[in-house]
């Protein structure tokens, strides 16, 4: 069913177009008049808010229509080559609408926050230009109706991530971080592309509707082709969504402005991988090995990242590893086949993680300003320099506590419902296939650690004595309302977000689950039937809550903010703590095993031998030498000497004679 321009569904092109317009306008302003901050603010945030409004109308229009299948709006024929027909087309269905609302909604709030946060930055216009461009690409990603269009968005958000991480590129570390993110993403993109090739090869099309309709017949469930496709797709996900082994770029990406971290590395871009698996849930359901890999990697990453977060001192790094960990949860969800659970957690995580990041942004903003006024240059992001900020930033503190409770999974906050549903789904599948019980256990331990390190973060930042230093302390105060306002909205969403999908256990309507059913049903039909008794379900809920409370209580008891010392005077960690502090030395391992050999190879072989030797000396200079030799040889023909001409003439005659006489002897 194609889009009818009369209904609001036909407006699906408007939000991306608005974002692109914002990019163009803000980009122009960045070049022409970078000081025009008011205009940039209005344009930058305005296009997002307008986009959100349009998204809501599309949503209501779609919900009222109750269409059978997805609505595809084809805009133009993009790649008509042989048997391949790829159109630039957007797909409006239940899943893409959820993503559309999350991206535009949370995006708008972050844009509003940025107006306050980036107020003093000279690159203000450039920032909003990039941010708008990012939203454009993200919308293309979630609205795409076929793999290539989605890939355009996929690559585009990677590009914008690079631009925004390295926003303050005059610092080499920031530029390096941007580059690291982009390159690791590319490794994943390679996986995505290979998967696309195989999909086309097997099904002859790249449109979602066609591929998913053809997949059950064109591919054998559990066979090599489908496993290859899904594994390569997941490789792309590990890159984009920072799972093992391609996650190391995300902590480094904290070098970018904090609202960027909130938008890109918490709420939207990193969730693209989860969206991909959700979109291709039929394919993953047909490949149980890959699904297990997805869930396994997700669970492992969840636990692994949580351990690292335990010992980080930079407030943003804690949140970065927390994001990686929570993404792991989402992958457990979609890997288990509980697509709606994974998407549910995607939405709730967007709410509370954006809140956490923006809140930390407020904190950093305040610390920065305090240090600035006191003419100090201490690290504004190190928790050892904070402490007791509750006194000066009550709103931020309260809101961040809400988010912490949500992420730890305390009822009735949103995170409780989403996380719990994932764990329940894993356990349920574990009754049929035992390995999933392991994933459930890993997830549970990670939940414990999550509660612990989040409480730790809150303790060190907002409670206990203040370690900021006397000179700076008197300049600390709450963030301006343009920044705190969005935090309030996000706080409300973190609390109420659970309403999206209250499971039947609590006599809720499981609204999101039913809403997504048209998208998830084909895949769900292929999964093993699992059923948990009510008793088991209540038990699981109980265990999860106990674990979360234990984490919080444990942190509250064991950690002593009073014994902390400001960062410059802090002692070095020793032993196991040191391993955690240094992220299990994964970056160093990658550097030694992969980066260094590659650099060596590039320099010695590719540069010196091939580029210089073969191509420069051989091909380029060789061509010149050949031309010169040919010229020198041909010189003889132009001497003007009649004798030479005669000789040439005779040679010509001989050739003719030879042709005429041939082999006749």
């Amino acid at each position: 069913m194609t889009a009818d321009a009369g209904t609001s569904i036909g407006l699906v092109w408007v939000p991306p177009a608005l974002a692109l317009l914002g990019f163009v306008l803000n980009g122009t302003i960045a070049f022409v008049r970078p000081q025009a901050k008011t205009a940039v603010s209005i344009i930058g945030a305005g296009v997002l808010l307008a986009g959100f409004a349009v998204a809501v109308t599309i949503f209501t229009g779609f919900a009222a229509l109750h269409p059978e299948a997805a609505v595809v709006a084809r805009y133009w024929s993009w790649i008509p080559v042989g048997t391949l027909q790829v159109d630039f087309a957007f797909q409006v269905d239940q899943l893409s609408l959820v993503m559309l609302l999350v991206v535009t909604g949370v995006g708008s709030l972050i844009h509003l926050f940025s107006i306050g946060y980036m107020k003093a930055d000279p690159g203000y216009a450039r920032y909003f230009a990039y941010l708008n461009l990012f939203v454009f690409f993200m919308l293309v990603l979630v609205l795409g109706a076929n793999f290539p269009v989605m890939f355009v968005g996929w690559e585009g958000v990677g590009l914008c991530s690079y631009l925004l991480i390295g926003f303050w590129f005059s610092e080499k570390a920031n530029a390096d971080a941007g580059r690291k993110a982009f390159i690791m993403n590319r490794i994943g993109d390679f996986g995505f592309m290979v998967a696309m090739f195989i999909i086309f090869w097997v099904t002859g099309s790249l449109d979602f509707a066609t591929v998913f309709a053809a997949a059950p017949t064109a591919l054998t469930a559990g066979g090599g082709a489908i496993t290859a496709i899904t594994l390569f797709l997941f490789l792309g996900c590990t890159g984009k969504s920072a799972q093992i082994p391609l996650y190391t770029w995300l902590p480094d990406a904290m070098a970018g402005p904090t609202p960027v971290s909130a938008l890109i590395h918490a709420a939207t871009m990193v969730t693209a991988g989860v969206y991909l698996v959700a979109r291709c849930n039929l394919l993953f359901a047909m490949a149980p090995v890959s699904s297990a890999v997805v869930a396994g990697v997700g669970a492992l990453t969840a636990l692994f990242a949580a351990t690292i977060a335990l010992k980080q001192w930079d407030i943003k790094k804690v949140l970065a590893y927390s994001t990686i960990s929570q993404l792991g949860y989402m992958f457990v969800g979609v890997g288990t086949g509980a697509i709606s659970a994974g998407v549910f957690h995607l939405a709730t995580h967007a709410f509370f993680k954006a809140l956490l990041f923006l809140g930390s942004g407020s904190v950093i903003f305040a610390m920065h300003r305090a240090y600035h006024h006191a003419h100090l240059h201490d690290d504004a992001q190190d928790m050892r320099n904070m402490g007791g900020l509750r006194r000066w930033m009550p709103w931020t503190s309260a809101l961040m506590w809400i988010a912490t409770l949500a992420i730890a999974g305390i009822p009735p906050f949103s995170g409780f419902f989403s996380k719990d549903e994932i764990l329940a789904a894993a356990f349920a599948r574990g009754t049929a296939q035992p390995i999933w019980l392991l994933f459930w256990a890993l997830g549970l331990i990670a939940a414990l650690l999550t509660a612990f390190y989040m409480t730790r973060m809150m303790l060190y930042t907002f409670h206990g004595p203040n370690r900021t230093g006397d000179g700076a302390r008197e300049h600390l105060h709450e963030a301006p309302w343009i920044m705190t306002g969005p935090l309030v909205v996000l706080g409300m969403l973190s609390v109420a977000g659970g309403l999206l999908n209250i499971p039947e256990l609590y006599k809720g309507g499981a609204w999101l689950h039913h809403w997504l059913e048209p998208v998830t049903a084909p895949g769900a039909a292929l999964l093993p039937e699992t059923h948990l008794s009510h008793g088991t379900e209540w038990a699981l809920v109980g265990v999860a809550v106990v674990v979360a409370l234990a984490g919080i209580a444990g942190a509250w008891r064991l950690l002593k903010p009073e014994s902390l010392v400001p960062a410059p005077q802090s002692p070095e960690e020793r032993g196991f703590e040191r391993i955690l502090r240094n992220k299990w030395y994964v970056d160093e391992i990658y550097d030694a095993l992969i980066v260094r050999p590659l650099v060596w190879l590039s320099r010695e072989v590719l540069w010196k031998r091939i580029d210089q030797g073969a191509i420069d000396a051989g091909a380029v200079n060789g061509a010149a030498r050949g031309a010169r030799a040919a010229g020198w040889a041909n010189r003889w023909l132009q001497t003007g000497q009649v004798g030479v001409y005669v000789a040439a003439f005779v040679v010509g005659v001989l050739l003719l004679l030879w042709r005429a006489v041939g082999g006749r002897s």
């Binding site: 003007g640 000497q641 001409y645």
Partner: protein, 98 residues
């Protein structure tokens, strides 16, 4: 009689070509060209034996043309000599490029 005659003609022609190739004096080269023409005449006459008397008629024409060509060619050599004071082919390089 035909084949030996043709062979002789071939040899004469080749000698003429060789002469054209390795001599520098323009007049001598011209003479070698005449030699070639005569070789061709011999071919025609030999073939007239088997094809018809038209061969001999053609020889007549060849001779006429040869005469004309000799006249004009020698006139050209005279003119060139007046400019260059030499008939050596090496000095006749006005066609040289650049």
């Amino acid at each position: 009689m035909l084949n030996p005659a043709l062979s002789v003609s071939a040899v004469l022609f080749t000698l003429g070509v060789a002469g054209v190739l390795f001599r520098r004096n323009a007049i001598i080269i011209f003479m070698c060209v005449e030699l070639m023409l005569n070789a061709v005449n011999l071919t025609f006459v030999a073939l007239a034996q088997v094809i018809g008397v038209g061969g001999q008629v053609f020889v007549l024409f060849v001779m006429a043309v040869a005469a004309a060509e000799a006249a004009v060619g020698l006139a050209i050599i005279l003119a060139v000599y007046r400019h260059k004071q030499s008939v050596s082919l090496q000095n006749m390089n006005l066609l040289k490029d650049g």
